[in-house]
Amino acid sequence: MEKTKTQNKELTSEEQKAEINFKTDWQYAASPESTDHIQLKKKYDLFINGKFVAPAKPKYFDSINPSTEEKIAEVAEADEADVNKAVKAARDAYKGKWSKISASERAKYMFRIARIIQEKARELAVIETMDGGKPIRESRDIDIPLAAAHFFYYAGWADKLNYAVPGKTPKPLGVAGQIIPWNFPLLMAAWKIAPALATGNTVVLKPAETTSLTALKLAEIIQEADLPPGVVNIVTGAGKTGSLIVNHPGVDKIAFTGSTDIGKLIQKSLAGTHKKYTLELGGKAANIIFEDASIDQAVEGIVNGIFFNQGHVCCAGSRLFVQESVFEIVMRKLKDRIATLVVGNPLDKNTDIGAINSKAQLDKISEYHSIGLKEGAECYQPACEVPSKGYWFRPTVFWNVSQASRIVQEEIFGPVLTVQTFRTIQEVVEKANNTPYGLSGGIWTDKGSKIFKVSGELKAGVVWANTFNKFDPTSPFGGYKESGIGREGGLHGLMPYLQY
């Protein structure tokens, strides 16, 4: 026992010597994506019945660039009269044209939308990054291509719905009210709109108030694609606008992605109505590293799991569980990896971590940070500098935390990771499932049998093995427990929009 201690001591002093110095003489020069090619209006109206129309009451709010705190554009706030108008337009379009034309005709419009998204990918990526603060690398390589992929994928389903529900004749529901979050603005719009259109429904969509712009650019694309007026209506605004859609009697289905608190409110207000609903809510995913994992790749998976999109990801791998025997090395590699993350201007092509989406979200993350410190957790943040203006939070790792810690229990929705250790499979499965959430999870091991055993026991909608945060339109996505109801994506994503 004593001998082990001495050995450890020696190792520690060697480790102290062996610090890797990432402050290199050779630095990456600024490499910002240009913004001169984007076309943005100063003021955006509501998109109703195929046209941009001013709101009934002339109320507009500012859309802010979270990395500079500068105003990008003004966006209309939809009130009751506007929502009524949008729902009526959607209903008329449903009765008038959309339910009458052939399925392959619907697909034609959707393919067209998908192609125009691809054509305008660069512009959309830049706007997404300016409006939401996410790194251009992500909006360029993930958000926009995936948004197009969703339209392509669901366009393919439009004329094959009979095969989706064998032996039955599926029918659309009517008007879908869709409320989407600010973390993947265009991608979430695509997740919602594409299956609704493929199944023959019409749509009233409300983007989040901090990130309306790409949804409004999508409205322009929809115009360009010549989609029949009223099939997709986009009304901007905050929570009140959303609640008007949820409670509107002319809506047949609600699809909501957002916080669990709002999800509960929506579920309450929908109780006893005819409306179908799907809710995609919060998460606190366990990312589990076993000692037999390929550690360097697992560390990469930890980083992608929690720091992707500044941790503004409902399925983020925010609770890391590391098998005790590899805890030291995993922590060391994780810290060194985090030290090389580039934090700063989201438009810079080398940026790994961009701006926090809003002041409110930054305040929430900062509060959890101080809660973590108060709870006595140990904390690591890299020594990177962040710009003086804008909303920033450095990547953060807490350890010496327990299941009882608030930072372990509650969804932070920011670049904050908690690390716990475990010894046995049973222990880690119990801890992983000991949460009101159940959206996603990750397993890292070289052993296939362990993957099957643990993934079968995790109560989570998506479990990734030796990877994390992988998305594909063909794959269903959704939660257990308070992480939501229903599935989006894939064949499963058609069902909430059909009666059969």
Partner: protein
């Protein structure tokens, strides 16, 4: 020692995804110029042909000292790499320049020769004045699982090197898996390699970014455990400036400042030199110079 126990799982998909992400790093302007000069200073200008002549070696040495006659502010390259019988020519030509002479040995490139011959081969090159020895491992023995043989052979050659630095060529194109690359790296490092090197350049694929990443991680893990630094040399197949910069990005983000110099990182290449020169000239003038203006070696 049972080297079978050293085997570590490496996830192929993960390695390749990590590399794909490194490749998205955008290197522009002064950062690009600095990196290109750094890459030039890390070059082992190499000629390893049966038809190599003293004149060709002299020519390559001249280029090593001054990579381009009419361009200014250029560093010399790190070393010239030749067969043992050309070492004397190279040391004479490079005298006083600071450019090192590296010699391949141990029955390069196959490594299929008796131990005695390999030791003699190495000693000859050292006596002729080689500062660095690039040996090949016995891939056949490695693939047969005779890891102790591979280890001991490297250790023996290390001894024969005396004060000369030893680079151990794993010939990763013949090792089949990243796990094998990692294990061979660990064995070479434990046996005393000063550098680990991907390839002879005689086998396809030669150096690749994923293989180099796995080797850099082996070097880092050894550093974590012991505080000792081992160098890295990807060799073969790196022909373009853009690729070379991607290698430097990996070194920067895996091993940091201490490795970003010719003492710990080298490129085994020859055509890369002219692409670096051409790109450097382009940064100055804004347009590409004809390749005819750069000497072929």
């Amino acid at each position: 020692m049972n080297y079978h126990l050293l085997k570590k799982p490496i996830d192929q998909v993960g390695v390749e995804e990590r590399v794909a992400r490194f490749k998205t790093r955008s290197i522009k302007k002064q950062s690009k110029v600095q990196a290109m000069k750094l890459a030039l200073s890390m070059l082992d200008l190499t000629t390893l042909e049966g038809k190599d002549s003293p004149n060709k070696v002299k020519q390559i040495c001249a280029k090593a000292i001054k990579p381009c006659e009419w361009m200014h502010d250029l560093p010399s390259v790190a070393a010239v790499c030749v067969y043992p019988n050309h070492v004397r020519t190279a040391t004479t030509a490079l005298k006083g320049s600071g450019v090192k002479v590296a010699s391949v040995s141990t029955a390069f490139p196959s490594g299929n020769a008796p131990m005695k011959v390999k030791i003699e081969d190495t000693k000859f090159a050292v006596e002729e004045g080689a500062d660095e020895i690039d040996m090949v491992i016995s891939r056949g023995k490695f693939l047969a699982g005779e890891y102790n043989f591979v280890h001991d052979e490297i250790a023996t050659i290390k001894e024969a090197c005396g004060k000369s630095h030893l680079k151990v060529i794993l010939e990763t194109g013949e090792l089949e898996s990243y796990e094998n690359v990692r294990l061979a790296s660990d064995i070479a490092i434990l046996a005393g390699a000063d550098f680990i090197k991907t390839s002879t350049g005689k086998i396809e694929p030669a150096a690749t970014l994923p293989v180099t990443l796995v080797m850099l991680e082996a070097i880092r893990d050894h550093f974590y455990a012991t505080g000792k630094m081992v160098g890295m040399k990807p060799a073969g197949g790196i022909r373009k400036e853009k690729e070379a910069l991607q290698y430097l990005v990996m070194v920067k983000e895996i091993l940091g400042e201490a490795w970003l110099n010719p003492n710990y990182f080298r490129f085994g290449a020859s055509t890369l030199a002219n692409d670096l020169l051409m790109q450097l000239q382009k940064e100055v003038t804004g347009h590409y110079q004809s390749l005819d203006y750069f000497s072929i070696d």
